[in-house]
């Protein structure tokens, strides 16, 4: 378990299945994710079985996000960690909409960033986000991510092409933010 301020990150369990199945079939939740087609319970179960079956490691970092009271509210992961480049791509979903815009996502992000830099020894953490998803971008900016690239007409959804942004944070930038926090305290 990795402890944050509002949330803890823990390994995903088979008992999380029902919630994943609900979240990833909720159009409001999946609107900005790369999940276009509805997911069957069986497909979700197979995915979960495969993911919970192998131990977490550098190549396989997927956490469930729990509130401090143990309510499972979402999921956060690194994809495609490249050891030579010391970088990884971050993806997060707060599936329980009651916990949107209340700082839980930001705390989960900060907790995973700390894990990525201080434990996995990454140099760079990056992510892509739909240009229309301003709520997510505000959260990422708050965590120190910088907008780097605008992929034009990158994704088609809801009858139109939409831009996708690449955002990134480097190890030095993360360290500087940590120091600024220390000073403030």
């Amino acid at each position: 378990m990795i402890e944050g301020t509002l949330v803890n990150l823990r390994a995903v369990e088979m008992s999380d299945l029902e919630r994943y199945a609900v979240w990833f079939n909720d159009p409001e939740v999946t609107r900005f994710l790369n999940k276009r087609y509805p997911f069957s319970l069986a497909a979700e179960e197979a995915w979960l079985r495969e993911n919970t079956g192998k131990p977490l490691s550098y190549d396989h970092v997927t956490f469930a996000i729990d509130t401090k009271d143990g309510v499972h509210i979402g999921s956060i992961a690194f994809h495609k960690a490249v050891p030579e480049d010391r970088r990884a791509e971050l993806g997060i979903t707060i599936g329980d909409k009651a916990y949107w815009s209340r700082g839980y996502g930001t705390d989960a992000m900060r907790t995973l960033l700390r894990f990525g830099f201080d434990e996995m020894n990454l140099y760079r953490i990056e992510l892509t986000v739909d240009a229309r998803n301003e709520r997510a971008q505000a959260c990422y900016r708050k965590c120190g991510f910088v907008e780097e690239v605008r992929l034009r007409q990158h994704r088609y959804a809801e009858g139109a092409y939409h831009d996708t942004l690449w955002m990134g944070i480097l190890r030095d930038e993360w360290a500087a933010l940590q120091e600024a926090d220390e000073v403030r305290r």
Binding site: Y156, G168, L170
Partner: protein, 185 residues
């Protein structure tokens, strides 16, 4: 076969193995392609065997680049082809040194663009290029690719982190280019 002005694009053949293995052994070329580890001839041959036996299709198009005289000088590949988003990412190599910086690569790119927009009916074609690869950057710009931004320090090679630049061309931009070409003629 897809005809260009200086080059043709054709399906890859097992007989390309000699050259592919040679290019795979060229340190400078590999560095520009982002490949780190030397590959055995057996590994190169195995991957080649697996795809030359499959018919080319929307999902994984790979081409050999030939001069009009039939000299095999390089290769082109489309990756992450998305039907819904109508986009693909390209990678190109001109492996034969005498044919570098002489317009063969640019002609191969233009020929590919005609195919990608005119036949595969895509909306966006993009690519990654390392910030230090000035020759490639110039060639892509000349063909109409637009720089969309840089993923800072995303590639580590030769002792330092380097930016990865993302460039793209949209269907409308390509069409405007074609129309302007007609006018000049």
């Amino acid at each position: 076969m897809i005809k260009g002005t200086l080059v043709n694009l054709r399906a890859r053949e097992l007989t390309d193995i000699e050259q592919s293995a040679r290019w795979a052994g060229d340190e400078e070329l590999q560095r520009l392609m982002g490949d780190r580890y030397p590959q055995s001839r057996a590994a190169t041959e195995a991957s080649m065997r697996s795809y030359v036996s499959r018919p080319l299709s929307f999902d994984d198009p790979r081409f050999g680049i030939e001069t009009r005289d039939g000299v095999h000088i390089g290769g082109l590949r489309l990756m992450d082809v998305s039907a819904e988003d109508r986009r693909a990412r390209l990678a190109i190599i001109i492996g034969e040194a005498p044919y570098q910086s002489r317009g063969y690569g640019s002609d191969a790119l233009r020929t590919l663009m005609s195919f990608v927009f005119g036949d595969m009916n895509l909306n966006r074609l993009d690519l990654d290029v390392f910030g230090f690869n000035a020759r490639a950057l110039a060639a892509y710009r000349k063909c109409g690719f637009v720089e969309e931004g840089r993923r800072r320090g995303a590639q580590y090679t030769r002792g330092a982190h380097h930016d990865v630049i993302i460039m793209s061309i949209l269907r409308d931009e390509w069409a405007a280019q074609q129309a302007a070409g007609e006018v000049t003629r």
